[in-house]
Symmetry: C2
Subunit: 865 residues, 2 copies
Amino acid sequence: MMLLLSSLRRSHRRLLHLHRQSHNLFSASTSPPLQFPLNHPIYMIWGSNTSLGKTLVSTGLASSFLLSPPPATNTTNTTKRRKFLYLKPVQTGFPSDSDSHFVFSKLSSLASRYNPPFSLLASNSVLKSSLSAAKSFGGCFETNEFKYGMYNLNFNEKKKVLRDEAGVSELICETLYAWKEAVSPHLAAERENGVVEDSAVMEMLEQCLSNELKFEGENETMDAFCVVETAGGVASPGPSGTLQCDLYRPFRFPGVLVGDGRLGGISGTISAYESLKLRGYDIVAVVFEDHGLVNEVPLLSYLQNRVPVVLLPPVPQDMSNDLVEWFGSSSEPFNSLQGILLSAFSERLRRLKEMPKKATDVFWWPFTQHKLVPEETVTVIDSRCGENFAVYKAQNKDFITEQFDACASWWTQGPNATLQIELARDMGYAAGRFGHVMFPENVYEPALKCAELLLEGVGKGWASRTYFSDNGSTAIEIALKMAFRKFSIDNGIFLDCAKSNLADRQIELRVLALKGSYHGDTLGAMEAQAPSSYTGFLQQPWYTGRGLFLDPPTVFMCNSKWNLSLPDWLHYENVTNNDMVFSSRDEIFEKIRDKSDLYRIYSSYITHQLSQYPGAEGTVHIGALIIEPVIQGAGGMLMIDPLFQRALVNECRRRNIPIIFDEVFTGFWRLGAESAAKLLGCIPDIACYAKLMTGGLIPLAATLATEEVFNSFIGDSKLKALLHGHSYTAHAMGCSAAVKSIKWFKDPRTNLNVIAEQRLLRELWDAELTQQISSRPSVQRVVALGTLFALELQAEGSNAGYASLYARSLLQKLREDGVYMRPLGNVIYLICGPCTSPEICRQLLIKLHARLEEFNQAKEQQASC
Amino acid sequence: MMLLLSSLRRSHRRLLHLHRQSHNLFSASTSPPLQFPLNHPIYMIWGSNTSLGKTLVSTGLASSFLLSPPPATNTTNTTKRRKFLYLKPVQTGFPSDSDSHFVFSKLSSLASRYNPPFSLLASNSVLKSSLSAAKSFGGCFETNEFKYGMYNLNFNEKKKVLRDEAGVSELICETLYAWKEAVSPHLAAERENGVVEDSAVMEMLEQCLSNELKFEGENETMDAFCVVETAGGVASPGPSGTLQCDLYRPFRFPGVLVGDGRLGGISGTISAYESLKLRGYDIVAVVFEDHGLVNEVPLLSYLQNRVPVVLLPPVPQDMSNDLVEWFGSSSEPFNSLQGILLSAFSERLRRLKEMPKKATDVFWWPFTQHKLVPEETVTVIDSRCGENFAVYKAQNKDFITEQFDACASWWTQGPNATLQIELARDMGYAAGRFGHVMFPENVYEPALKCAELLLEGVGKGWASRTYFSDNGSTAIEIALKMAFRKFSIDNGIFLDCAKSNLADRQIELRVLALKGSYHGDTLGAMEAQAPSSYTGFLQQPWYTGRGLFLDPPTVFMCNSKWNLSLPDWLHYENVTNNDMVFSSRDEIFEKIRDKSDLYRIYSSYITHQLSQYPGAEGTVHIGALIIEPVIQGAGGMLMIDPLFQRALVNECRRRNIPIIFDEVFTGFWRLGAESAAKLLGCIPDIACYAKLMTGGLIPLAATLATEEVFNSFIGDSKLKALLHGHSYTAHAMGCSAAVKSIKWFKDPRTNLNVIAEQRLLRELWDAELTQQISSRPSVQRVVALGTLFALELQAEGSNAGYASLYARSLLQKLREDGVYMRPLGNVIYLICGPCTSPEICRQLLIKLHARLEEFNQAKEQQASC
């Protein structure tokens, strides 16, 4: 009886993956991004259980909307048409049950019973059905050859109720997919060999909406209203098995929840409401049939009166009078409901419209010259689903369109749609269970589990302690304090200075670091980077740059080949051609290069620099090495020759200089391995993580350290402890998000990109397209590694560098294609999540490639003028 | 028909408040803190709807547990007793429905049908009922005088099924509260004049558990198992109207969810599961009656196979054979379920036990000398509910006990239990709708709403821009950059230095600040504070202290009087006695003091200091004033004379030195007003907020600034923009939490402490107790203001200061009383939330007062020895 059969589990896990992948459908097609109009209200009708009267509510709304006195004619004397669109994407029990037919026939009959009757053009269509449903539907079908999938039923029925030609109201009812058995859609679909992918449902729904609510001149004077009625309860599976609340999530239409007025109905209604909220839906009203149990009182109390509750009169058991009386007595609540929905719709639109102006009035965006951001360029993000933003646009008409978040919400983003809802549930749970609890001297599950996962994962083989903080900058400041303490103890500095006051501070500690590095924006983190656009007096009046900053060799792809680029200090004659070009990216990382002449050149340069620095005075010490392994992010997505970084690590290890890896950007699969240290083939003494650690959801950082580093803070006095902490250190929500994400990303069952044996992500960026792009004349270099695809545009003078606006027109075009990118001056990049499918990445590259061609041509034209 | 009646709304809001307050019941009584044993498993039985067979599941578990072969005798030949405790806290439809009677009679009958019969002692009690239920129950009651409330029914029935005397199993069934009508408990309670407060239900439940599962020697050999069966669905209202999932939350017993195997049941089961998770419950198994719809398949897929699903055979419609056959055929699933519950219980206990050791192995706590934190002093926090931790303890026996979080989770915590669940829902929604989306050049609702609320609230009258960051430290670093830029532009420094390289940096900017101030742990924030325990080379090798740091006058209560304490620089003869003592705390803040001699003394001192600093060189400028208004937190909860801070602000304003208020600790009602600036009666140019801003849930910070400050960053180049930002800047989750909390705290409908007219919190700390405490000889000073109650213990030498362990024994005792505090050396404090009731605060003071007495006596004894 017990369902613990592992084979069952496995098969369903596979099924689950199938469904998950299909969430990304919009980006997977080469068609334009998903989009839907905002010119007319579209509402989902949800039920907190099955058989609570969703269709009665749809019918009542249709009746309210269509069967009221004709709208006043406007000044130009053209009549405003009214159109009610009823969509039932998924219908089971067909044809005996057909909700679209019910709405169609009920409205026709209600219209004709008025005296005089209301003018109404009504139609009902059923587009596709399973074979069994089609057969039951009768008629003659050529179904001999047809065994699997859905049959094109294309059934249509029409009725006209006419009083006069003017002011005709129109009712369009459509069932998109129908199955015969009156069971849950996933079961009917399976039993009737008529499984439909989520993508198909969503595309057909999008198509119906666009056809019926389309932006056309003649529709300017159309008043339309659309409801999309779900099947069963909010979390009933759709035809593929995906829960309907997940299936329809990319649209995130606002909803009406049909609740339950019976005994036990308060609970079911509240729970259904919470399931919808957890997925980011807005519920505009709750409506239910009155059973005399005053369920509305606790419901209103629960909803804090923020969501109106509408009561419907009891539905008669005796249906003989065709519910005409019932609809009559329900006209008041349905009119109220319609009013609520219309005003919520216009309120939403008003807010969306005013947002850009308000944003430019009250925000102070970081890294943004406000003078360069006019109101009309502000992006209004209505929501996100997995890797995609839903963006509000107001070009001619209002609509919502999808854009792939290729800036990975500024380098943090990781979840696909499935992980997002998992995280949402976990966030609710963490807040409900812990809220926030203080960390020092305490332990609680999410913090402990997170620390354990970090030490077993990115810290494996070297780290034994986890120090939590809030973001990359703070993690770096902590790392520096750790390294300096360790260095001081090792070098006997500690004893001299422990009690010293400022005047006695003879010793000065500095870092060894690379030019182009970036470790965060707080002063301590800034001090560890070389002078740059970010460090001038204008930005950082207190910056001095406390380090020895070396110019590193870099690698990149150009004209389809991976090349080495050497800094000025390295005389080319010493380097063989063999060392300058790589046959593949893998070759760059190969350990065998440690035996090369180049390695010896690197090492001796580093040795020379360290011995020369800072000159004769003995009071200045290099107390730490700090590097971003493999990729320098903010510096311009530069890939540093890993051989050089290995040489740095080895030389510092030899001198007992603590080694800090800044993996804030590179950690957690950003570069295709759980840590960039793994790619480099070295271990640090201290490493910093943030960004993707929480799946890209909320701020949390960790500084990992070896037991030796930890021990340099042990003593009898609290004053010897590391006195750096933030109030939310190891906050339960962040740790919970990290626990889920760290596990999710590395598990081949949840992340199909993980190649389990190699502990690497499969290649996400199409090799051929990458080479093609790297060969465009407008492209100076390409770096494709893990989830990162970066390229530097060929640019000179003020077109190059961080402040450049050179890429702007290119990125504008890509946004129209549904790709949201943000430049680093003339460097642009696509970043996907660790779970993003290679197919989606390929689509991004195709779009980028096409727009680069245009860009190139435009630049060439400009040049020739 | 529509329920928009505002009077109804109002009355229910009041009702709601009543319920909310009662959540805090455990702290409101003088009795010991809530606690329950962990020596035996206790499970909640939840239903995803009513009538799904919760009681069948309870009965099945009882049968599995009691009616299996007697346990093997142990080595000492004593028999292990088995006891199954079935508790039904809330029963409606009584006496015709009585689930405890059902379990009682069914078990007795099952036991006797075995051959030979199982030995069983069974009892069933009904403790309290409404009068109507009592009357229906029959018998002779003295009910004439009894009209309202609950009647002490104290009904008890017993049965014995005996085979032999050894190995007797015991079944205890108890109904705690019963009502007659078969409707939702809140409705029955209301209709039968038998409303029961949440606190009463919880206390009686605690009592029953403690009686039956008590830690006694003889019970050492008892095997017990307890289920607490809820009424209706998970979110069905309890007798007071509080949803049951909220009512029982302080216990957070793990649960079994009885799901729904019918059509539509997948959705209801998933939604109920999500409602429980949202409240921080752990659901260990889902069990439901099989209706042949294979609902288990989508459920297992949804649960990702992490929660086992158990199927029960269909319950026969024909009950004539008394379900004996059904229980027979269900023994396998019930045994499995029991196994799952027992192993989850021991797994939970194992994890709780190992947590302190693991924590000391893998954590590196901030501000913690690990050598001083042995494993046994680590606090294991199992959860929090509102202001209280649920702490796991293993003294002799394992149990969970409640501790009031008086360190306010390190100065951030704000929500009571009601706000916590509201925030949990909002966090789920924000994650589901937005996850995280990048901020620069974008707008999304939570960020916009949060910025608007900040500008209308704490920024009202001065601020026009919101700059988001992650925590107090980063907010301060941003504020400094803002102030210095403004100062530079105003003073023509900008033009000289814009393009300057390091060598050219002639100009040095410093801050004017107060000794004892603390602005955060990153280097930039540290540089703005005076040298302290936190700034030595040992901690901050890069610290130099870039400021003019003044020693401020402070105020505090001592011997029941508010006194002024002057720093050395101020000659006492200049100050009248009148100025040294205040008749009340309000007097300290009075604006009339601006006319006093003292104000002139303060002003001229400040003027003198500014004119003398830093001597002859003209390159060093005071570019900003930075203060924590009213209270210096980390510096030791020092209350600075507001008159002195006003003088500072006025003098700097006169000199066009930008003024920064660090309201990270003081903001959002911490001190009884939404901002401390309001108490001070001054406005800044820039102010920083964090901690309580999100209700104390997750990290988020904001730096607010005037339009003039903002304008000093406007120009043609991006390089003139403020280039400081963190990846999660303005993250949707943080902004959503802030939006909810900012509104909640200031609204008198949700925060009963708010005095609407005055925009102040009512006095939370009992005046008499405060005076008494301030008069203890062991107490040097007291500061009670808003949500803060701080006191400094009289201490000398190494007993004083940040590293002191002087308060340790005192705080240990208070933890035993259920009060969790953390010292700042010899300064200890209680911090409550903005919504905490004065009664709870009074209880805290009573406990503190009593323990101070003990502490005092112990110190006196030590001294006399």
